[in-house]
């Protein structure tokens, strides 16, 4: 077994390299052959999926195998060494499974969705490159490498949002996505630099910014310890670094105020929305915080840090804000995008209140059901020949039953109905958030999350009812999608129902129900904790909180009930709000006016100021001096040229003038 797992681990880099290789091959050679492009791309990620499963299994059975890593030198100088490598530990293994599963299913789905598109092969090439970059990000061994792949997934997202480059909206959206992400990357970069500045004496020729390395101890945890001992880092300065670095996750995972790109990113083809903008890339921010968790803690490793409080509040605010916006959106994909923003907020709340396992668990569950929801919306759009407005839908349950059932499962799951996966992770986060106690308004965040859960249930079922029930309001001829599209939906429905049970111990739950409450380990937390051993040898398992679960359930059902009343029974709350509180409605419909604010600042202030300053300095001042010297030179020359023009009369004239001048001087100022 050990020998086998040796090969298993040492070939792990192939998981990342295969999609890159395939992407390059498709671009260079296979782009004229659709089937070959598809087969190569799907093949690479299928391989990655099975290899990841084997790795996960190996780590499950023999925990001492992780963390396993290998590095190659990428840049060496006497100052420091930058490395690229592959790190396989429990956290990475979980993410590998998520990325490979969703990517595989999305790639199969793509075959159905994009088969008419002239850019079919190009799409597969981008998909492969994205998958490779995302897997590279997941297995990064150090912060530098993560930044490297962080940007690569960003650029793949740019390619894919702008895939239909002829659409002006898509062109604007991909530019916006990349630039907003660059704002986040700026913070990420500055954060890395400041952290490196504080710990630069520590690394001593080892590859810098390594996440974990139990063998040599040259990793983040020990770097922070070292810096704290040497006085280059305090809890306060570490928090400052973490908050600046958090700009990266804020942009990548679409947290306020850098969230504005994600809804616009829906201009890309729907498979991309499912893969990149719902399940994997947008979760990279959450993953970064979890991966580099020591930076967000205090210097002595406690979760009582300001940085984590900021994470929690940013997540909490975003979750709430996005949910209020999702209430009024009519575009099916954009409404889903806002729900993604909101759910990512939940994950950050989980990490921020110290419940890293719950946050990661929500990421895990969310990836499956949200990917499924997006793929369902894609099937609806496909079936309606491009229609995305939910006001033009309705009554699709009979026309496309498989899609409708899957969408219903996803909706139930995300709404937090007990028994489905979303319930377990979301409830765990709300439960921990209720006990959050850092900062003056700490008590608010739990209730806010609970209220957001109510909104979530309402807007998700609003979408479901508007799309699938009632009478069909559009003009197209809806039809169910081909098997290549429905099969991935049905596969994803399984984890959307069941994956939640990994994060809860059935015995503990049953015990609590029968009055014998006890804390028992659950599979997910116990497995994941192997990557958080610096937090303590054993994770804190909690007694199931039946009261909390009960409240969550009531909240979810009341949201569903309200949506049911409004959208199937004609309870006119929505029109009432629209008519009597138009400001509130417009505020939600216009997404809290973030876009207007940003575009206004950019177009009315930043660009005019830049233009004016540039014109003044470069054109007027500097070139004024330059051109001025040449005018002065020419002018001097013009004057001086009369001194040597070779004409006798001129010279005689000058001599005469000089003599006359001298004579006059002597006449008026006689000597003596």
């Amino acid at each position: 077994m050990l020998e086998n797992s040796g090969v298993l681990f040492s070939t792990a880099p192939m998981i990342v390299l295969a999609p890159f290789l395939v992407g390059a091959i498709i671009i260079l050679f296979a782009r004229f052959n659709k089937t070959l492009s598809m087969a190569l791309s799907v093949g690479a990620v299928t391989y990655g999926f099975f290899h990841s499963l084997l790795l996960l299994n190996a780590l499950r059975q023999e925990p001492h195998l992780g963390p396993w890593q290998t590095n190659i030198d990428w840049f060496v100088s006497s100052s420091f060494k930058l490395s690229m490598g592959v790190l396989v530990d429990n956290l990475a293994a979980v993410m590998l499974i998520v990325v490979c599963t969703v990517s595989l299913l999305v790639q199969i789905y793509t075959h159905g969705y994009m088969r008419e598109d002239p850019g079919y092969s190009r799409f597969y090439a981008y998909l492969s490159l994205f998958t490779g970059s995302m897997l590279g990000l997941v297995v990064s061994t150090n912060l530098f490498e993560m930044y490297f792949f962080w940007e690569l997934v960003g650029v793949c997202s740019y390619f894919l949002i702008g895939f239909w480059w002829f659409k002006p909206t898509a062109a604007a959206a991909c530019l916006k996505a990349f630039v907003i992400n660059r704002i986040g990357d700026f913070g990420f970069l500055v954060g890395i630099l400041m952290f490196l500045g504080a710990t630069s004496g520590f690394w001593q020729g080892h590859s810098i910014l390594t996440f974990v390395d139990p063998q040599s101890s040259f990793d983040l945890t020990n770097a922070i310890k070292w810096a704290a001992e040497h006085g280059t880092l305090t809890t306060a300065s570490l928090s400052v670094i973490a908050i600046i670095m958090f700009m990266g996750p804020m942009a990548k995972s679409a947290q306020a105020p850098l969230h504005v790109w994600l809804p616009d990113a829906m201009e890309g083809p729907t498979p991309i929305s499912a893969l990149i903008h719902a399940a994997t890339m947008v979760a990279a921010g959450v993953y970064l915080v979890a991966r580099a968790y020591p930076i967000w803690l205090t210097v002595d490793g406690s979760t009582q840090s300001v940085a984590l409080a900021v994470v929690a509040w940013v997540g909490g605010f975003t979750a709430f804000m996005a949910a209020t916006i999702a209430l009024s959106q009519n575009d099916i994909k954009r409404a889903l995008a806002w729900s993604t923003v909101s759910q990512l907020g939940y994950m950050f709340v989980g990490l921020g209140v110290g419940a890293y396992a719950s946050g990661m668990f929500h990421l895990f569950n969310h990836a499956f059901f949200k990917a499924m929801l997006f793929l369902c919306s894609g099937a609806v759009i496909h079936g309606l020949h491009g229609e995305q407005d939910m006001r033009q839908m309705g009554g699709l349950f009979k026309k496309m039953p498989i899609t409708a059932w899957c969408f219903l499962i996803g909706t139930i799951s995300i709404s937090g109905v007990p028994g489905f996966s979303g319930f377990f992770s979301k409830d765990a986060i709300i439960d921990k958030a209720m006990h959050f106690n850092i900062g003056p308004l700490a008590g608010l965040i739990g209730p806010l999350m609970l209220f957001t859960a109510f909104l979530t249930a309402f807007y998700m079922f609003r979408m479901f009812f508007m799309t699938f029930t009632g009478e069909y309001r559009g003009k197209a001829h809806p039809h169910e999608s081909p098997l290549a599209m429905t099969a991935p939906l049905m596969v994803l429905a399984v984890p959307s129902i069941l994956s939640g049970y990994l994060g809860v111990n059935p015995q503990a739950l049953l015990g609590a129900l029968s009055g014998h409450a006890q804390a028992l380990p659950d599979v997910f937390t116990a497995f994941l904790h192997q990557s958080f051993l610096y937090m303590g040898a054993e994770p804190e398992f909690e007694v199931p909180n039946l009261l909390g679960m009960g409240i969550s359930t009531v909240v979810a059902f009341s949201g569903i009930a309200l949506a049911f009343m409004v959208y199937t029974r004609g309870l006119g709350i929505n029109t009432w709000v629209k008519q009597t509180l138009p400001q509130v409605y417009q505020f939600s419909l216009n997404k809290w006016y973030f876009d207007e604010l940003y575009m206004g600042v950019l177009q009315k202030i930043i660009l005019p100021v830049y233009t004016a300053v540039w014109t003044l300095v470069d054109k007027v001042l500097i070139d004024g001096v330059v051109d001025g010297t040449s005018i002065a030179t020419v002018g001097t020359g013009e004057v001086l040229k009369y001194t040597e023009n070779g004409r006798g009369q001129s010279y005689a004239m000058v001599i005469f003038a000089c003599v006359a001048g001298l004579a006059l001087i002597f006449y008026f100022f006689p000597r003596g």
Partner: protein
């Protein structure tokens, strides 16, 4: 062949080419130029095979003394890792520029290609000279072909641009000559060496020992000349005009190679000869570099002429070289040298692609092009995308390596930790980091205004995609940037030792100056 003659050989190819092409028939000029370009690449490859990357010293040195009195005049060439990287860059970019000259060179090809050859002689000569006088002569020689190449084959405002280029560069040359003579006479007074010299190897040994005041006067002229060439704010306004008016292949050489003469001089002469100067004024140079990065990026955002955007982005990217030099960190200096090569490739590619679009649309104004070109130029679109991403510092492409190492290195550098204003230095660096946002903004906005959006009716039907020659040139440069971006050690291994040593030597001067007079805090 005796490997010692290889460098001379390399220098003679374009020099002879100048005359051969000048005397040959108009029709065969292009063929001869391409052949000579290939020969130069082959000779460079031979140099590479004899070059020992592990050695820190000068290699393949050849020295011929002509006269010794009243002052020594010598022919003295040699390369180390730093020069070698730039020589390789020069020969490849020159060949690509010659290949890209197929339309512009139809106008008086004999004169055109002969001027290109003379220009190449000058650039190669600067990179391999080991005699300061010879360095200066070859440096100045570049003016003549460049002036004519802009003034004859340039755009509508070519006279203005060529004259502006000439005046700026000539001014730099005068400053350099003054400092050069000053340095020559000062070295005669150093005890260890009675005989004044132009030998750059000897100067690198002796002039760091000169008093700080002498170093100040000695360095300032060189510094000005190199800052003009680099170019750096506020001496940069010749560059956008020269680029906009210059024909495409000349822009490739101008951005890809000529600017590197300035950065090469900064490392070889300013840093190598005058470490006290760099140590003393490092904070200012750092601030200037950071300002360049941001200022030029801002300038890019407000341009409507795509060539002007690429020209200003050169100013922005050369700011990283200044930062890398000023920081005194081995990694950042290594990054600065990397930036020279990387920017040489990327800017040549970008200017080439600008030329491809200009040739088809006959306008460089983005507002006139109006977008949607991707429909008819898918290949050019992909190359543009790659070049734009390389320029904005996307990982796995070469621009990122330089930016990342300059930032990482500078932030942990002696200047940012030991000097008397560490927070100011760090502030400058964070300011420069905002460049990553601005660069992404202007590059992708440029891409959007060129290629994205619906097809414009006015372009429908009469634009063509890349021709085989264009695909070849763009591919060679694109492969270069991908290769260096994925595996930067391929380049850094040639000069890592030199960067380590130079940074350490200069940093020693910084610590010495801080140690000897801690009260001197006006830095």
């Amino acid at each position: 062949m005796n490997p010692e003659h290889l460098l001379t050989c390399l220098l003679l190819v374009p020099l002879m080419g100048t005359f051969i092409i000048g005397l040959s028939p108009e029709k065969s000029a292009r063929a001869i130029a391409i052949a000579l370009g290939i020969v130069m690449v082959i000779v460079t490859a031979m140099i590479g095979s004899h070059f020992n990357a592990a050695s820190l010293g000068m290699q393949l040195v050849e020295k011929v003394t002509w006269i010794t009195s009243p002052f020594p005049v010598e022919y003295h060439v040699g390369i180390d890792g730093l020069s070698f990287c730039l020589v390789a860059l020069t020969t490849i970019v020159t060949l690509m520029a010659i290949l890209a000259s197929n339309t512009i060179g139809d106008n008086r090809p004999r004169l055109y290609y002969s001027m290109v050859m003379l220009l190449t002689t000058s650039i190669l000569g600067v990179f391999i000279s080991l005699d300061l006088l010879q360095f200066f002569i070859l440096w100045e020689l570049e003016l003549i072909p460049m002036y004519f190449l802009i003034a004859i084959w340039g755009g509508p405002r070519r006279d203005y641009a060529a004259m502006k280029f000439l005046i700026y560069t000539f001014l730099g040359g005068i400053f350099m000559l003054a400092s050069l003579l000053y340095l020559y006479f000062q070295t005669g007074q150093v005890g260890a060496m009675q005989q004044p010299t132009f030998d750059m190897l000897q100067l690198a040994q002796t002039s760091p020992g000169l008093p700080a005041q002498v170093q100040l006067l000695g360095c300032i002229g060189f510094m000005l000349a190199f800052l003009i060439k680099l170019p750096s704010f506020p001496l940069h306004t010749w560059l956008p005009d020269a680029h906009v008016e210059a024909p495409t292949p000349i822009s490739m050489i101008l951005a890809g190679l000529l600017l590197k003469m300035g950065s090469y001089g900064l490392v070889r002469i300013c840093m190598g000869f005058f470490p006290d100067f760099i140590a003393q004024f490092g904070v200012f140079i750092m601030a200037l570099g950071a300002f360049n990065v941001v200022w030029a990026a801002i300038a890019c955002l407000v341009q409507d002429d795509m060539k002007r955007i690429i020209a200003y982005s050169s100013v922005s990217h050369m700011g990283f070289v200044l930062m890398g030099i000023a920081s005194l960190s081995a990694a950042a200096l290594s990054g600065a040298i990397f930036q020279m090569v990387s920017h040489g490739i990327i800017s040549a590619l970008l200017f080439f692609l600008v030329g491809c679009v200009y040739e088809r649309c006959h306008t460089r104004k983005l507002s006139e092009i109006g977008g949607g070109l991707a429909k008819q130029m898918p290949f050019l679109f992909y190359f543009w995308m790659l070049a734009a991403l390389a320029n904005l510092g996307l990982p796995a492409l070469s621009g990122f390596v330089a930016e990342a190492t300059v930032f990482y290195g500078s932030f942990t550098s002696p200047l940012a930790t030991l000097s008397q204003h560490p927070d100011f230095v760090k502030g400058c660096l964070i300011f420069a980091c905002t460049g990553v946002i601005l660069t992404a903004g202007y590059m992708l906005w440029l891409l959007k205004r060129l290629f994205y959006g619906p097809e414009q009716p006015k372009w429908a039907g009469h634009l063509t995609d890349a021709r085989p020659m264009e695909i070849f040139v763009a591919s060679v440069l694109a492969i270069g940037t991908i290769w260096l971006g994925v595996y930067p050690m391929a380049l850094t291994k040639n000069y890592a030792g030199i960067a380590d040593k130079m940074a350490a030597d200069t940093a020693a001067h910084l610590t010495k100056s801080l140690g000897s007079n801690p009260s001197d805090s006006d830095m």
